[in-house]
Symmetry: C2
Subunit: 260 residues, 2 copies
């Protein structure tokens, strides 16, 4: 049996002015795990090739075995994709690397059903350190990191969105940080809905373009965001962002003196 | 105004056989941010000094300004600690680095109230990439990474613990991954309580000693863990671990084609 490696990739685009951004956000050990592999299960084959080139994979990229598993992978093909990791009469097992288009595989990204199947088959699963927008945003928000919840994408329909925001506000006011995301071109619309639905005292954190050239993280009350709504909407528009809500009650320190 | 940098530190101990583990799990950009700073706000001054030495800080460690803010920082001292980041008549502002004893500051760790104060004062807050046990565990669990919740530590009292586990099981069965931790010496007791309280079909993931020499991540049904309860309790005992519960329903892919 071989190992399924879960490897995060950069979350910000490399620009002409930041050609080494990819390498800068990945630890040496993560890069080494990718460089020594020859079999890749990629959400998107094209972005996977660009990533493998950026970290200087020692083999010619065209010679690597890159399987595109897509955004909504077909469960029916999991065993076929994982077959090279299992010993067969004719050949030894090989390691595989699972790659998202950006960030951590399986976290706000596809891949978890494939990993679940790997566990069922007894394949070793090894996660590697790299950028996760949710954690970067939470760390920098100043909000409760002892109790938090990631809820993914909110409903798009106006009434349902408002209902959901009011439900999230209730949880946030109990002290649990509520984290969500939206596709960049809908960010300004989501901000507008938040500023309309939520109470003035509630805290909203906007973490924009994390690890990118326009990175900013700001936490303010809804009342203060309302006063700068138009400028904020413009900054948010078409930029990746993470949204966080918390009740404004300072978090208590965790119970015991040590852990993750 | 200067910047408050939030810097993760390694989560596994360096052993004689892995002297460079610290550097291997931190990206180049994160290490550079620490090397260029001279003012540190540390949960624990001693472990901060050991970390600064391990990444080869260019200045003599004894000459660095390291303030121990402790596990339960006193809010009354936040402004004093943040004062060097604000320009004063007599001197320019300097950057500060916030360090936990292990992992990401503010995420299942102290620091968020200090960061919240930095936001109020208009100080720029910048998070850096590094190891987060919660994300590593979630990524490798094969459980739903589109909806998840970190609940910290569970109650210690037997009856309250059982009640809490049943409540987490209800949420897990609705498809949201439930993540929690315990101090290592209580891990075996927590495992026992989980195996007693939860339904046989529920999935439990145990992520043990992440990034360390004894790392393992395994996801199985409660029924299967019960069959190996004693050996598992021994492996868990006194090792850092993350516990995850999920209902076993495979997660649907997230809605839009791209994000964190």
């Amino acid at each position: 049996m071989a190992t399924l490696h879960l490897v995060p990739v950069p979350i910000a685009q490399d620009g002409a002015d930041r050609p080494h951004a990819a390498v800068a956000v990945l630890p040496e050990a993560t890069i080494a795990a990718v460089r020594s592999a020859g079999y890749f299960l990629a959400e998107n084959a094209r972005s996977a090739r660009a990533f493998l080139k950026s970290i200087g994979h020692p083999q010619p990229i065209a010679r690597l075995d890159i399987v595109e598993i897509g955004h909504e992978s077909e469960a029916a093909r999991f065993d076929e994709w994982l077959a090279p990791l299992r010993e067969a009469p004719a050949r030894a097992a090989v390691d595989a690397v699972l790659l998202s288009e950006a960030g951590c595989p399986c976290v706000a990204d596809p891949g978890s059903a494939l990993v679940a199947r790997a566990h069922e088959l007894g394949i070793a699963v090894v996660p590697w350190v790299g950028p996760c927008a949710i954690v970067l945003a939470l760390m920098a928000s100043g909000m409760n990191g002892q109790q938090f919840r990631f809820v993914g994408y909110l409903p798009q329909e106006r009434g349902a969105l408002r209902e959901r925001l009011l439900a999230l506000q209730r949880e946030a006011e109990r002290g649990e940080t509520q984290i969500f995301i939206e596709t960049p071109y809908r960010n300004a619309r989501l901000l507008e809905a938040i500023l309309e639905a939520c109470r003035p005292q509630l805290k909203l954190c906007l973490a924009i373009d994390l690890t990118g050239p326009e990175q900013s993280v700001a936490t303010r009350s809804i009342a203060r965001w309302r006063a700068a709504a138009e400028a904020t909407a413009q900054r948010l528009q078409r930029r990746p962002a993470v949204f966080l809500l918390c009740g404004g009650v300072p978090a208590r320190a965790p119970r015991p003196p040590r852990q993750p």
